[in-house]
């Protein structure tokens, strides 16, 4: 059985603890999923030089956000076990790219558990995170991700977590206002390109003009989408899990790819 694969717009770390229309949609989506034997998560927040996998038997929960967030968020833990077999399988599949088994410098960050706290709140399914090598261009990530495709037939749910539109500098937290027009347009463009399987255009997103430059000022929140797109097989469709905007400049678009 081939498991679906999904991209999630995670938004604020507070979504970990919050019941809202996004987290409700994530929970509803989880109810449709066959139970995976393990999860491989690609998060915007493990954006470092080099490709790494979390290799600790019990990776720690990383509270990778500033101290303005409430204490309850710092108390939150996602105690899923690691998975040494999955780590070795990822290392094998990604060859010849050198993958560092990282048992000390990272664990599960909010890009992953913000979503997983709702998908699999019991945290009983083994979880491995894969870093995004910040020294590499977009095309590298797409090609790397495509090598992970066999995992979908091995009971592994591959999820990526970022935001299609993510411009913190222009985020407007003052009121519940409509998204910027450029944000809405870029979000719609990406959705259309995914539907049309125009992955080359998604990889070369910087050629999509000013809307793209404002929506993706830095690549880390966009690149996870390429990991999901690269796993799309012939005949598979893209379905929206939920969509919307936070703070005018943050797309919450979440998508699933399945037959």
């Amino acid at each position: 059985m081939t498991l679906p694969t999904a991209f999630f717009g995670h938004g604020s770390p507070l979504n970990t603890l919050t019941k809202n229309r996004y987290s409700t949609a994530w929970r509803a989506y989880a109810a449709t999923l066959p139970a995976p034997r393990a999860i491989l998560a690609i998060s915007a927040h493990w954006y470092v030089p080099g490709t790494r996998v979390s290799a600790a038997p019990r990776p720690p929960t990383i509270h990778d956000f500033n101290t303005n967030f409430p204490p309850a968020l710092f108390d939150f833990a996602y105690p899923a076990p690691g998975d040494a077999d999955l780590v070795e399988r990822v290392v094998e599949l990604l060859q010849p790219t050198r993958v560092q088994r990282d048992a000390t410098s990272w664990g599960f960050d909010h890009g992953a558990y913000c979503i997983l706290a709702h998908l699999f709140p019991q945290a009983e399914i083994p979880l491995v995170e894969l870093s995004i090598d910040r020294t590499k261009p977009a095309g590298f990530h797409y090609e790397l991700a495509a090598r992970l495709a066999p995992l979908r037939d091995e009971g592994v749910f591959i999820m990526s977590s970022g935001n299609v539109v993510h411009n913190l500098e222009l985020a407007d937290r003052t009121a519940d206002r409509e998204p910027y027009e450029w944000a809405r347009r870029f979000d719609a463009d990406v959705r259309r390109l995914l539907d049309g399987r125009e992955h080359e255009a998604l990889i070369n997103y910087q050629r999509l003009g000013a809307d793209a430059r404002l929506s993706v000022p830095t690549p880390e929140h966009y690149l996870p989408l390429l990991y999901t797109a690269a796993l799309q097989r012939a005949g598979e469709r893209v379905a929206t899990i939920v969509e919307g905007f936070d703070f005018r400049a943050g797309s919450m678009l979440s998508l699933s790819i399945a037959a």
């Binding site: 020294t135 977009a138 411009n167 430059r213 000022p217």
Partner: protein
């Protein structure tokens, strides 16, 4: 442009290529970081401070920790280091995406509204800018009254405190 940035830019301009400028400029930034740490960290009656500064594996991170680099400046400097490292390891590797990112962080650290920029990002300009702001911060630090040297020995009551703690744990 301040004096530090102007001098640095002139020295960079004399070098033949962007990669040569990075190879020369980054150790110069490193030297400025170490000067900043020296100016910001209290003097130590022993030689420990000098040893720590000399051996600090990443003085930029320490400068950032001390609040002497903004987040955007720190990211830009980090990315310039990554570009130089990748250049050295694999000449010809496409690295424009890293420079774009560095340039974005640097310009929005100056003005968050500076979102769109039609000019080409410049690693040399970023280096000279960073050298300029670091030089300014160094001057300001040196002009202020230096913090008192670490002097726990001289403070009254410290020995008594230690003795009483020892006594406490012997019980």
């Amino acid at each position: 442009m301040n004096e530090g940035a102007r001098t640095f830019a002139a020295q960079l301009a004399a070098l033949p290529s962007p990669s040569a400028r990075l190879q020369w400029g980054l150790p110069e930034l490193d030297a400025l970081y170490r000067e900043l740490i020296r100016a910001a960290v209290p003097a130590n009656p022993q030689f420990e401070r000098e040893r720590i500064i000399a051996q600090a594996p990443c003085p930029r991170e320490l400068v950032f920790l001390l609040g002497l680099l903004s987040e955007g400046e720190n990211e830009a400097a980090l990315l310039l280091e990554l570009i130089a490292r990748a250049n050295a390891a694999q000449p010809g590797e496409p690295l424009g995406h890293l420079l774009d990112e560095a340039w974005y962080y640097l310009r929005t650290s100056i003005d968050t509204g500076w979102q769109l920029d039609d000019g080409e990002p410049s690693a040399s300009a970023a280096l000279a800018y960073l050298a300029g702001v670091l030089s300014q911060r160094l001057e300001r630090l040196r002009a202020s009254i230096p913090p008192p040297a670490l002097a726990a020995r001289q403070e009254s009551g410290q020995a008594d405190l230690l003795r009483s703690l020892r006594a406490e744990f012997r019980r």
